[in-house]
């Protein structure tokens, strides 16, 4: 059977690939949505923080022995990289972003954009643009023949892990008491503070969480792509489009749109590959015309 000249079997393969890419979009846009929804900061450094996650994994594996530490592999990095990069995020929030809350969104955007350029420049200077190799963890090498395609085990893991992370983040923020405090603090910080909750600390930790999610995405991407300084810059624009389409700040919106746009992009790569890096922006334009607040956004 064929659909528009493409065998259905091949189409299934492409849809699955789309889903895999979608899981990266979802993971990254999730962090952005958390930061924007709860802190009102447009975090342009998100791509750089994703790259930092990948580089932390690379450094833990290859450079840690030089410091007398054991070489830490993929599974360690999955835990440590988000913590390390998240901590860097906390420092950035405390030292710089905190000063900007009273000002327009634009200042936060400019600051994080500048930070991204600096971080990427430093890494390019140090490591070059060709990137560094990072091996797939031994347990996940090889793949399964699904009949319609060969699915590398690692890619299957990426879908599962990213879905789990997305859903638990959504649950944490929308369904738990802690998430409730957070959302209340963004609505009315003074009142929440009056109840004895340390709002500034909560905000700092939320930024750290968002940044940690970016770093986690970076570690998951390291074995698939080269660990290269511009890996985040290439992705961040698309991810912003995902967040805008999903509705700025909507957590569920960013997850659903992330996976959905991955699928759409996958299909475009089959039917008209030349347009595969523009299709998302075309959709963005259409969505903004029809629903300016995004698919899941609430008009304020």
């Amino acid at each position: 059977m064929e659909i528009f000249g493409v065998p259905t079997q091949a189409l299934f393969g492409q849809l699955l690939i789309g889903l895999i890419n979608g899981s990266f979009y979802a993971l990254l846009s999730l962090g952005l949505a958390v930061i924007f929804g709860l802190l009102n900061i447009i975090n342009f450094a998100h791509g750089a923080q994703y790259m930092l996650g990948a580089f932390t994994a690379f450094l833990l594996l290859n450079k840690a022995p030089a410091l007398g530490l054991p070489a830490l592999g993929y599974w360690w990095s999955l835990v440590l990289a988000p913590v390390i990069v998240g901590a860097i995020g906390v420092v950035i929030e405390r030292l710089m972003l905190k000063q900007l809350y009273k000002l327009d969104h634009l200042y936060g955007l400019l600051l994080t954009f500048g930070l991204a350029l600096i971080i990427e420049g430093v890494f390019r200077n140090e490591f070059g643009s060709s990137g560094q190799p990072y091996p797939i963890p031994e347990q996940l090498t090889g793949g399964q023949n699904l009949g319609f395609m060969f699915l590398p085990n690692y890619r299957a893991w990426v879908i599962v892990a990213s879905l789990a992370i997305c859903l638990s983040t959504w649950y944490l923020i929308e369904r738990t008491k802690l998430g409730g405090y957070l959302r209340a603090a963004t609505e009315n910080p003074t009142l929440v503070q009056a109840f004895g909750i340390n709002v500034p600390r909560m905000i700092t930790l939320t930024y750290g969480l968002g940044v940690g999610l970016a770093a986690l995405g970076g570690v998951m991407a390291a074995p698939i792509y080269q660990v290269s300084p511009q890996m985040g810059a290439d992705l961040i624009i698309v991810v912003f489009a995902v967040v805008v389409i999903g509705g700025m700040g909507s957590i569920l919106g960013s997850i659903v749109t992330g996976f959905g746009l991955g699928l759409v992009e996958g299909l475009t790569k089959v039917f008209y590959p030349e347009a595969s890096n523009t299709v998302i922006f075309v959709i963005m334009a259409i969505v903004l015309m029809i629903k300016p607040a995004g698919l899941f956004g609430v008009q304020k």
């Binding site: 091949a10 492409q14 890419n21 643009s129 060709s130 990137g131 060969f150 080269q226 590959p273 030349e274």
Partner: protein
């Protein structure tokens, strides 16, 4: 009255002529060399800051032997892989910064744009980093020389060799811009001439991260050879992900149509081993290339030179020799002089620049070593075949360059 009116322009003309001879025809007393390259994106390892280092080494070596006492300055800029940025930088350099000649310019789209600006301004442009064979074909100009390699040479070297060893069905993964199209087109015709067949192609945007869906299409095509008509980071990611999807294990071969030392270094021998491709320079060929490359690496943060870096060095050296011999840095005259003088340098040996602007030298078919065969840092290639200079590049008559008299 009539007489006086006429005499004023005459006086000026005479003055201009006098001042011209007085400064030995070097405009503003300095030969200014502009290295226009990709400083910040996927081609910045294969060209980028290393190209500036190579240009400076060439100036250093030229000054050691030259008696002309030329004042030479090297400047550089980032064209960001955008043709409009490249051509406006070139314009600015020529118009207001007294740059005499532009070198390097990886990215074919930018190279074609800079070549057009250079012709309009009458300056000199030696492309060492770009690939499209059109620079010496239908788009050739009296102000441009194409130095290191081109798409015809790559297609001819790699395409022929692979069809000969049984790779007779091809699928192309092509970067969707001037360079990819040119490389795909040239390889397509080489494969057809050698008796092979192209069964499919897919064009991906420049600077793509994920190649899996393109690779899946290539896999489904059942072609024996998957030709990668892309470069730099795109090639690296294609090869890496092809390994992940078990493409080579499944019996299909990858042909990197344009692979640089920096790509092999980035991939690691583990992933790159067995890859066959064509290049015009490898650092570990003889004592002279080794000595130069070590000097280069010391100035380039330990990174060894690609053929583009070697090309920039050799091109700048020859350009300066032509300026010295012609006693002028006028673009059109110097390019003519560069074609007239035979080339000779430690990296490419003896060669020449043809009437259409094509620099010719021998090129090599390389294979990437297995990790077990590599004995020291950057010990990556072994030579499979040498293609002599007169067969390596497109025959002069086939290019339809208007400068070539028929």
């Amino acid at each position: 009255m009539m007489k006086r009116k006429l005499s004023i322009p005459l006086v000026f003309a005479a003055l201009a002529a006098m001042s011209g001879t007085a400064s030995a025809q070097i405009s503003d007393g300095t030969v200014k060399i502009g290295v226009l390259t990709d400083m910040s994106s996927l081609y910045s390892d294969l060209a980028g800051p290393g190209s500036t280092v190579a240009a400076k080494l060439a100036v250093e070596d030229f000054q050691k032997t030259s008696k002309a006492g030329l004042k030479i300055e090297v400047v550089s800029a980032d064209h960001q892989n955008k043709a409009d940025v490249g051509s406006s930088l070139a314009r600015q350099w020529y118009d207001t910064q007294q740059v005499d000649a532009i070198f390097d310019v990886p990215n074919s789209a930018v190279a074609l744009a800079v070549s057009a600006v250079t012709k309009e301004k009458g300056n000199a442009f030696v492309d060492a980093g770009g690939a499209t064979v059109d620079l010496t074909g239908k788009a050739c100009t009296p102000n441009t020389i194409h130095w290191t390699y081109d798409t015809w040479m790559l297609a001819n070297g790699t395409g022929k060799a692979l069809v000969k060893t049984g790779g007779d069905t091809w699928f192309f993964l092509t970067a969707d811009y001037a360079f990819g199209h040119s490389l795909e087109g040239e390889t397509d015709s080489v494969v057809a001439r050698a008796g092979g067949k192209v069964v499919g192609r897919v064009r991906h945007p420049l600077n793509t991260q994920d190649f899996s869906s393109f690779l899946l299409q290539a896999q489904a095509s059942k072609a024996k050879v998957i030709g990668l008509a892309n470069a730099g980071g795109d090639t690296i990611n294609s090869i890496k992900q092809a390994a992940e999807f078990g493409i080579v294990k499944g019996g299909q071969n990858l042909a990197g149509l344009l692979v640089f030392l920096s790509d092999v270094h980035g991939l690691g021998l583990d992933k790159a081993q067995g890859l066959i491709f064509t290049e015009s320079f490898y650092w570990d060929m003889n004592d002279q290339t080794r000595a130069w490359s070590k000097r280069f690496a010391a100035a380039n943060g330990g990174k060894y030179p690609t053929m583009v870096h070697a090309g920039v060095y050799s091109a700048v050296l020859h350009y300066l020799k032509a300026v010295e011999a012609g006693k002028t840095d006028d673009g059109t005259k110097t390019i003519a002089k560069m074609k007239e003088l035979p080339t000779d340098d430690p990296l490419f040996g003896k060669g020449q620049v043809r009437a259409d602007g094509r620099k010719i030298h021998p090129v090599y078919l390389f294979e990437v070593k297995k990790p077990s065969e590599s004995k020291y840092p950057y010990d990556y290639y072994k030579v499979r075949a040498t293609i002599p200079a007169d067969q390596a590049f497109r025959p002069l008559a086939d290019g339809n360059c208007p400068l070539v008299k028929k």
